[in-house]
């Protein structure tokens, strides 16, 4: 329990004034602009959009600036902002198969239709600090090549044609799509809610959970069937218009994890799958999400639930960094009354302990 404490108004006001000054830093150094954040710290913006659960580069950039680069604080700001806006409705589900890919790799097949496309990636860099970036670096213009018009089908669709992988579960007619921003979470939770939870979940948490499955806590033998990043079109069935209108395009990363098989007396064995999807270029996030999505399907696939990553209540209740930071950080708010009662109790217990010891001490002194 914490109680309202009065008397700190002036201190609070001055603390925020000091914060504003510290946020700006040395004023002889140029102020960072939202365009600079959006263009040059793009992956931070992607993360804030994903976990803030709001696709808007400009708002995410503003949040990062306001939060002094503290991404969880920025995510908090974005979540608070979205709560102030009316919702027009839900989009048509995006078609990631029709993505204009900027990157697309598979670790399961070398020769995939459409090819392995590396795109802008940190992979194969040597992770050596580059002093030339310290100032005034002008990159070379990107190389170009003739673009093929060949489609880039999902690797899972290729495997699916031969029945080697389970097909994605289809929605029942008229089934509504669960939305954890509207209804409180109940367990067991269906896959739509789990995927929504993971999509906005903390990257670090999901990374650790996914990693734990690789280390044996709920092992599911994953292969990165495909990772793709690029632009997809968004359409929205607007009631006033009467048909689906184009809204523009967004950047997404998708990961299809291919996992060890299942089968039964009536079904031939086939690979199982885990799925990751997030705003922007968020490869680590979507790979982790796909590992955890697959682990959370333990119940449905008849696997024994033994590891934290397979426990949906554990994962879903702890994945949200805004909730987590709220509860952890509330510990620094005044708990004076609570603590006084604990202190009183402790003093009483210590007195009882001392009283119990006393007769022995007197006895020893007598001997």
């Amino acid at each position: 329990m914490y109680v309202a404490v009065k008397g700190g108004e002036r201190a609070i006001e001055n603390a925020h004034r000091l914060l504003a000054d510290k946020r700006r830093g040395d004023q002889s150094v140029p102020e960072v602009t939202l365009d600079q954040i959006s263009e040059q710290l793009g992956l931070a913006v992607d993360r804030v959009m994903s976990e803030g659960s709001l696709y808007d580069r400009e708002l995410a950039s503003l949040a990062i600036k306001q939060a002094r680069g503290d991404l969880i604080e920025a995510i908090f700001l974005v979540r608070a902002f979205r709560a102030t806006m009316p919702r027009f409705g839900a989009s048509e589900p995006v078609d990631t198969g029709a993505m204009r890919v900027q990157r697309r790799v598979s670790s399961t097949f070398k020769d995939i239709p459409g090819g392995q496309i590396l795109g802008p990636t940190f992979d194969y860099t040597h992770r050596l600090l580059d002093p030339s970036l310290a100032q005034g670096f002008v990159p070379e213009a990107p190389a170009t090549a003739d673009a093929s018009t060949a489609p880039t089908p999902r690797v899972t669709d290729i495997l699916g044609r031969d029945g080697l992988i389970e097909s994605s579960p289809q929605a029942e007619d008229g089934a509504s799509v669960g939305d954890l921003t509207r209804e409180p979470l109940n367990f067991p939770a269906d896959r739509d809610l789990r995927l929504q939870n993971l999509a906005r979940g903390d990257e670090g948490f999901l990374l650790a959970m996914g990693y734990s499955t690789q280390r044996g806590y709920g092992r599911n033998h994953p292969f990165a069937g495909e990772i793709r990043f690029g632009e997809v079109e968004v359409e929205f069935a607007a009631e006033d218009v009467g048909f689906a209108v184009p809204l523009g395009s967004i950047e997404l990363t998708e990961c299809q994890m291919v996992n060890q098989f299942k089968g039964s007396a009536t079904e031939a064995p086939c690979f199982t799958r885990g799925y990751g999807l997030a705003f922007g270029q968020s490869e680590r996030k979507t790979m982790s999400m796909a590992l955890v999505d697959r682990a959370l399907r333990a119940r449905e696939l008849g696997e024994e639930v033994r590891a934290p990553a397979q426990d949906e209540e554990f994962v879903m209740s702890h994945s949200d960094n805004v909730q987590a930071t709220g509860f952890v950080e509330h510990l620094k708010l005044p708990h004076y009354v609570d603590f006084q009662s604990e202190l009183g109790l402790l003093r009483k217990l210590r007195q009882e302990f001392a009283d119990a010891q006393a007769p022995d001490a007197m006895k020893e002194a007598a001997e």
Binding site: R82, M85, A90, V94, L195
Partner: protein
């Protein structure tokens, strides 16, 4: 209309201004003043399965009615209400017999051309990062 959603408000406005120099645009009024809100973006489990809620996006919308009665709607990602209004105006004009052809020719077609050039450039840069596997022959062969 997809072309307009991909363009900047300034680009659409400039094209409409140029068009208005040749032909006087008809009087029009806001049927719905520009308004910002959210649309929940959906994906599908496995890419092709049951839908789920991925996260929201900011969206701006507006509606415009021409004096001659045509009603146009404008929807776009982001919070630029003026862009939504310009899209709505174009949508209304495209439906009108007198202006449809001119808007398609002088506003939408050039913006489509620009979009295609941008996409072609991006596709060419992406294509340069495609892996060409070759097999190293070892031993006596």
């Amino acid at each position: 209309m997809a072309v307009l959603a991909h363009a900047e408000a300034g680009e659409i406005a400039a094209r409409l201004r140029d068009l208005a120099l040749d032909v006087a645009l008809p009087p029009h009024q806001d049927l719905r003043a520009p308004e910002n809100g959210l649309v929940m973006l959906r994906g599908r489990a496995g890419g092709d399965g049951a839908p789920f809620n991925l996260g929201e996006a900011t969206v701006s919308r507006a509606a415009v009615r021409l004096a001659s009665g045509e009603v146009g709607f404008g929807y776009t990602l982001g919070r630029d209400g003026e862009k939504a209004r310009l899209i709505a105006l174009c949508d209304a004009l495209v439906q009108s017999r007198d202006f449809g052809g001119a808007v398609e020719r002088d506003v939408i077609a050039p913006l489509r051309e620009q979009l295609m050039v941008r996409r072609k450039q991006a596709a060419a840069e992406t294509a340069a990062t495609k892996v060409d596997f070759y097999t190293m022959v070892r031993g006596e062969g």
